[in-house]
């Protein structure tokens, strides 16, 4: 589905990703963990070319992307992303947030986009909020709108960068619930999160990133019960 190979990324002298290989299979849910600064966000951002890699390749559906020849906006349209701080468009209503990209990028017919948008808002439990502005929503509701917005582009894979980290604890559940539902429906997902319960219940694979290197990659049961790497053991103790 989406394959990253030998990804290297430096900011100046700071080498943040030191040759990452990550193969995500269709319908797989990969949870990415690691301490702050280990390079998780940077890795996700390389996957949709928000960050320019120093070397390495990304292959989507068998097509290895050439950043010089391929149109990056077209590539990004196939890779959805959900951010820690939602990044909803404050000057647009909830529905307009969701249908903006289908209309502008995909040139979808307005009526059709509206239909799709309302269906997606229904799906994330916000059908009644279509016409309000994001400033009127709670954090949990904002993030669910952001998920609907990403889904509206019908992406092949969805990247989540700490989607619940900015939320009050009582609002985390409603967002994880939506993500769990997506996973069950077969959406391919790469999720950076500190919610270990989510990793255990939903992930097909848990990957530990440490100083820009993958040091552990296993199914959740093995990952949490029988980790191989010392750093992974420490990390699990820390978060549990």
């Amino acid at each position: 589905m989406i394959i990253g190979e030998n990804i290297h990324k430096s900011f100046g002298d700071l080498e943040v990703l030191k040759g990452i290989d990550l193969h995500v299979k269709p319908q797989e849910v990969v949870v990415l963990v690691g301490v702050s600064g280990s390079g998780k966000s940077t890795l996700l951002r390389c996957f949709n070319f928000l960050e320019e890699m120093n070397s390495g390749t990304i292959t989507i559906d068998g097509h290895t992307i050439d950043p010089k020849k391929d149109k990056l906006p077209d590539i990004r349209a196939e890779v959805g992303m959900v951010f820690q701080h939602f990044n909803l468009f404050p000057h647009k209503t909830v529905l307009e947030n969701v249908i903006e990209a289908p209309i502008i990028v995909k040139k979808m017919d307005k009526a059709k986009a509206k239909q799709l948008g309302l269906a997606l808002l229904e799906k994330v439990g916000l059908g009644d909020k279509a016409d309000v502005y994001p400033s009127k929503l709670s954090g949990g509701q904002k993030q669910r709108v952001a998920i609907a917005r990403a889904l509206a582009m019908e992406p092949k894979v969805l990247l989540f960068d700490e989607p619940t980290s900015a939320l009050d604890p009582e609002l985390v559940g409603e967002v994880l619930q939506v993500m769990k539902q997506l996973a069950e429906e077969g959406m391919t997902m790469v999720v950076v999160t500190h919610e270990m319960k989510f990793a255990k219940e939903v992930a097909d694979r848990v990957i530990m990133l440490d100083k820009g290197v993958i040091i552990e990659s296993a199914d959740p049961k093995t990952f949490f019960e029988n980790p191989q790497n010392e750093r992974t053991k420490q990390f699990i103790q820390l978060v549990e």
């Binding site: 990004r76 992303m81 990044n87 909803l88 000057h91 990209a101 502008i104 502005y133 952001a146």
Partner: protein, 221 residues
């Protein structure tokens, strides 16, 4: 006491002429802010563009305008432009004020555009928007809204600065007052009256700007 009576008398006798002059002052202000906004958008876009040449032109314009007195700009433009085209004093004044405003408004727009959260452009990119699309649909609309309060302030500054075009004989509020002061020999009292006019105008527009700012806060955009 005598003075207060004189002020009142002057107010009564001058207000028909002063009100006409207020209209001209407001017209000058409005026209030059509109012209300044058009120039401001153009130069702000040049400044944030990738082209070094366009950036250079915008920087030169902004530096020169901000680095020279408005009065010099008015005289320069008036004597310069009227050598090339036939332009009455009012339009020459409006043009000078507009060109002056353009530099300040360009900085207002540039600041507003660059003040939009990076998350907005990242989210737009992640959805597949091109630079053009995300600027047009996401960044500019938000920047424009945020520019309105500082634009309102620029309007207020221009309202006061427009008094300088009396130098080229535009019959706006200050020049009418100046004439009235000279002919009545009551300079002190007349300028108190004209000060009052400016103060009231400025207070009205300050109130409008503040009202809009509060509304913006409520919408959080």
């Amino acid at each position: 006491m005598e003075s207060i009576r004189t002020i009142f008398d002057i107010f009564i006798t001058t207000y028909p002429g002063f009100l006409d002059a207020v209209i001209i002052t407001l017209q000058l202000t409005a026209i030059s802010v509109v012209l300044g906004t058009v120039l401001g958008i153009a130069f702000a876009l040049m400044k944030i563009s990738k082209s070094k040449i366009l950036q250079g032109i915008a920087n030169l314009y902004i530096t020169v305008i901000r680095g020279t007195p408005l009065l010099v700009q008015i005289m320069f433009l008036y004597f310069g432009i009227t050598q090339i085209v036939v332009l009455d004093n009012f339009w020459a004044g409006a043009l000078a004020l507009g060109v002056h405003n353009g530099a300040y408004i360009a900085e207002i727009f540039r600041g507003a555009i660059q003040g939009i959260d990076r998350g907005q452009t990242e989210a737009s990119r992640a959805l597949g928007m091109t630079n053009n699309q995300l600027m047009r649909r996401i960044v500019f609309p938000q920047a424009l809204r945020r520019s309105i309060p500082p634009l309102g302030n620029q309007f207020i500054i221009t309202l006061k600065d427009s008094s300088l075009v009396w130098m080229i004989g535009v019959a706006e509020l200050f020049s009418v007052a100046n004439r009235a002061a000279a002919s009545s020999f009551k300079q002190f009292e007349t300028f108190i009256v004209v000060g009052f006019y400016y103060l009231v105008l400025v207070m009205i527009f300050t109130y409008i700007v503040r009202w809009y700012e509060n509304r913006l806060d409520v919408d959080k955009v």
